[in-house]
Amino acid sequence: MSLLSLEAVHTYYGDSHILEGVSLEVDRGEVVALVGRNGVGKTTTLRTILQLTPPSEGQVWLRGEDITGADTHEVADAGVGWIPENRRIFSRLTVEENIHVAVPEGRNIDAARERAYETFPDLREHRHRDAGTLSGGQQQMLAIVRGLVGDNDLLLVDEPSEGLAPLIVSAVADALAATATETTVLLVEQNLPLALDLADRFYVLDDGQVVDSGDTNEVDDDDERFRRYLSA
């Protein structure tokens, strides 16, 4: 049984039909990359899994259980974490408070904080600062550790390298690689070499449909299979 499975999912924003029958599976322990051009429905796929934008048709299964139509907090409580596009940190909360919100009730907050600061030591010295005053790279680090401290079984990661300096991208990639050894990851990433480096398998999305999939060790980032769907 797959950890996550989408079955013929159709999702709309108002009248716009974004996902047109998307089906995909993510097995426990895998890193799966979801690639495609801008606006083909990658972020919507993650939002559909979280039930932030619930599907109009089709089902989303988590560990064999149908979570379609569940509340988003219930999906999160079931062990699905989200590192969103554009970070979406709580800017008026301190770094420490941002981490605190992400720790489920009953879990050890001190241990979670230590884990966060071990992953990105830079955050420790800024822990009492409002998150909105951090640099873009530090905000991305915070967004990532917020996804990590939830002890999730599945992490949905959306464009983690977007807008970051190369040095920060490298630190972020290292943190995701370390995370991937203990957590299942569904990764949306425009940076194809990074995505293929981290992922075991990939799906290519185009116009709201899965048009290709396979193992990442069968392809490279210049493969015709990608050029057809990823070039502008």
């Binding site: 509340d71 999160a76 008026r92 909360l93 408070e97 919100v101 009730e105 917020r146």
Partner: protein, 344 residues
């Protein structure tokens, strides 16, 4: 030259202004105005806090908030009128007030929770106008209901309920010498209640897990939900707390001769509360406290000036709205506001 001055309508005003200015800067006057201003601020902050918590998290402009304050004033007043007699001593009166605070808060918080679940929640996804119309309709219903009930018991709905005001302890009705001036016991009590309310809300928001959820949800409720926060439950709790706070402010107003328990109290408190929330920045508690102090102090200052220089008491309230206009022009998001808050 002096003839020209004598013809000017402002000629007599200049020495009067200088005299009044001198009187204003006497330590005794300044201290009195300061106490008046902080007491007004305490009331404004207590009324506006509930409003700002509700708007900050839920993006709902609750036009029924003033009605909650009015209901709180009558409910608390009723409790005190029923329990307090002429022979009742000050300590007992204060104790009954404390009991009234607990009862009013509990009843109105429960009412607010039910309102959120039954009426507000079904229209979250509709345009903000629907929420405004709904809460505005609610305030009309509550005010009319209060008018009917109050009239049924032979009270004047538009006049302050004197029986409730008479339950005030003597110590609060007297003047007390403090530092350089004699100040009203009620004003000191209002300041103490305001400080207590600010501390309790601040501790709730910054030292409790639920408060953390409220602040996170105020910024980005979708992200908070994706981190496992049951935002809908937080909405209900915040609406209940906000409504309860509005009611608690009401019970304090029932003792204040400037306000008193009456049906128009709903509108009289809603307007300054909105002004304070907008000046502070929609949805920020820190902004509400700062704006409450600013508005309270300017209001008290202008009240003194209008009473002593012009002998006209109607205009000071206008200054509150003048501050609002200036803030909206210079800093539309308010003193501590961000450009966009609320939403769900």
């Amino acid at each position: 030259m002096s003839g020209v001055l004598a013809l000017s309508p402002f000629a007599d005003s200049v020495p009067l202004f200088v005299d009044t200015l001198g009187a204003f800067f006497r330590p005794r006057t300044l201290f009195g105005v300061l106490v008046d201003g902080v007491a007004k601020a305490a009331l404004y902050i207590m009324i506006a806090s509930g409003l700002t918590l509700i708007f900050g998290l839920m993006g709902v402009l609750n036009f029924a908030h003033g009605s909650m304050t009015m209901v709180g004033a009558y409910l608390g007043g009723l409790l005190m009128v029923l329990v307090v007699g002429q022979e009742t001593g000050d300590p007992t009166r204060l104790l009954v007030f404390g009991l009234g605070v607990v009862v009013v808060f509990a009843v109105l918080a429960a009412f607010g929770g039910l309102l959120e679940i039954g009426l507000i929640r079904p229209i979250y996804d509709r345009p903000p106008l629907s929420q405004i119309l709904l809460t505005f309709g609610l305030t009309l219903i509550l005010d009319e209901l209060a008018r009917i009930v109050v009239s049924f018991y032979g009270l004047q709905p538009i006049s302050e309920w004197q029986a409730a005001m008479a339950t005030k302890p003597d110590v609060l009705g007297q003047q007390h010498d403090l530092v350089v001036a004699s100040v009203s016991g009620l004003k000191l009590f209002e300041i103490a209640c305001g400080i207590l309310a600010v501390v309790v809300i601040w501790v709730f928001l910054t030292r409790t897990r639920y408060g953390l959820y409220v602040r996170a949800g105020s910024e980005d409720s979708e992200m908070a939900a994706a981190l496992g926060v049951d935002v809908r439950r937080v909405f209900t709790v915040v609406f209940a707390l906000g409504t309860g706070l509005g009611g608690v402010a009401g019970i304090l107003l029932a003792w204040d001769p400037s306000w008193g328990a009456s049906v128009p109290l709903a509108v009289e408190t809603l307007l300054p509360a909105f002004v304070v929330v907008i000046i502070g920045g929609l949805g920020t508690f820190r902004g509400t406290v700062a704006a409450g102090l600013l508005v309270g102090l300017i209001d008290a200052t202008m009240t003194w000036w209008f009473q002593n220089a012009i002998a006209f008491t109607g205009l000071p309230e206008m200054t509150i709205f003048l501050i609002l206009v200036i803030v909206l022009v210079v800093r539309p998001q308010g003193l501590f506001g961000v450009e966009e808050v609320g939403g769900h």
